[in-house]
């Protein structure tokens, strides 16, 4: 099978092509990053629809502001930083609007009760292979405290270095190293609780 010339190019070369007006180069970047970026965001917000929205918004911003990208940073660092900022914005908005404000609906007997909101994490019509294993892995990750989870996921999904995570999060490198270590400790603890020590036999 013939390899498209753009597949050979680095991320940085592709975004430079986008800057020069070759919009097709952006498709290749979306192809390369959509899965990992989506998973990074999903493990932060725990809502697949919202994760898709934020991932798409991340790409939109990267495209619209492609001219602002400078080669001093890897494209992936730049992209994940945009995604992280959007996730943080969402988290801030979520904290400002507490869950207590669930709309009230009237029952037949006249009493008003809280409306049941659908569990967006388990939508049957989603075309995602929500196997039991994936669900369990997601649960394991989302149990990690948020401030440890953020650098941990940037490391695991974004493959960012400690220095890049430091630049993206504003944390000191020592703090990044420490938080990733603590996140892994939580991850392993939750992993053993879910799968036992011999994970391979349960998959």
């Amino acid at each position: 099978m013939a390899i498209h010339p753009q597949e050979r190019l680095s991320d940085e070369d592709l975004i430079l092509l986008v800057q020069e007006g070759q919009k097709q180069a952006f498709d290749q970047l979306v192809f390369r990053y959509k899965d990992r970026l989506f998973n990074f965001i999903l493990k932060m917000v725990r809502d697949p629809d919202l994760a898709e929205e934020i991932a798409q918004d991340t790409f939109v911003r990267a495209y619209i502001h492609a001219d602002k990208y400078r080669t001093i940073a890897r494209f992936s660092t730049w992209l994940y930083t945009i995604g992280l900022n959007l996730v943080r914005n969402h988290m801030r908005r979520k904290k400002r609007s507490p869950i207590g404000r669930i709309p009230m609906v009237g029952r037949a007997d006249g009493e008003k009760v809280e409306m049941e909101l659908p569990d967006k994490g388990h939508q049957p019509d989603r075309d995602v292979r929500n196997t039991e294993m994936k669900t369990r892995v997601a649960e394991i990750v989302t149990k990690i405290p948020e401030h440890y989870r953020e650098p941990f996921l940037l490391r695991e999904y974004g493959d960012l270095s400690y220095e890049e995570i430091s630049a993206a999060t504003g944390l000191k490198i020592g703090t990044v190293r420490s938080r990733i270590n603590r996140a892994r400790s939580h991850f392993r603890e939750n992993w053993v609780a879910s799968f036992g020590t011999d994970a391979d036999t349960l998959v």
């Binding site: 899965d35 939109v60 075309d127 400690y162 892994r184 053993v192």
Partner: protein
């Protein structure tokens, strides 16, 4: 090396940030510590699964929705640009309108002044404009240059009259011609 330190070193090892000396010390610890060995094995398995089989996939509509969002974003961007250029056009339009209105007011005011009081206009219109009929001079109309300020006009006395010895020719038209006020020309 205690287990807490070993786990920190394991994390660095997984990120390929442990130097050979550190790796050697960690290996020594792992050889005699089953807990830390299990910790490393579980992490290796779990983290590999996190980015492999444990990965979710976005929906099949992901690219389609992204393309739609991009189109909307680009259209909005163009609209903002258009609006900004429209704002600039509006500023120019307002400026030109204001300048035209000012011109009309000044010109109209001058003609009104001339029709009411004669002369070319009040002092602010210029030195030459500070000329007028003798009648106007007598009535002490506003807009006349104070004496001693470079005016070409004759100096008035305190009562607003003409200087002593100046005679008025009542045969002359009430509205002075510009020639009457030429510098150096004596009044009758």
């Amino acid at each position: 090396m205690n287990c807490k330190h070993a786990k920190e070193q394991i994390s660095l090892f997984l990120d390929e940030r442990l130097d050979p000396s550190g790796q050697s010390k960690l290996n020594e610890h792992l050889e005699r510590c089953d807990d830390c060995s299990a910790y490393l094995d579980d992490l290796k398995t779990g983290l590999a699964m996190l980015t492999d089989e444990g990965m979710d996939r976005p929906s099949d509509n992901f690219e389609w929705n992204l393309r739609r969002k991009l189109q909307v974003a680009m259209a909005q961007r163009e609209t903002i640009r258009y609006d900004e250029s429209g704002d600039r056009r509006d500023i120019w339009r307002f400026g030109l309108s204001a300048a035209a209105a000012l011109l009309v007011v000044v010109t109209g005011g001058t003609f009104w002044y001339q029709s009411q009081f004669g002369g070319a206009g009040p002092e602010f219109m210029g030195t030459e404009a500070a000329t007028g009929s003798v009648e106007n001079t007598r009535q002490g109309r506003p807009g006349w240059v104070e004496p001693g300020h470079g005016s070409v006009m004759p100096v008035l006395d305190q009562s607003g009259g003409l200087p002593q010895g100046t005679e008025i020719d009542h045969e002359r038209p009430q509205v002075a011609s510009p020639a009457d006020s030429l510098p150096g020309q004596d009044l009758d």
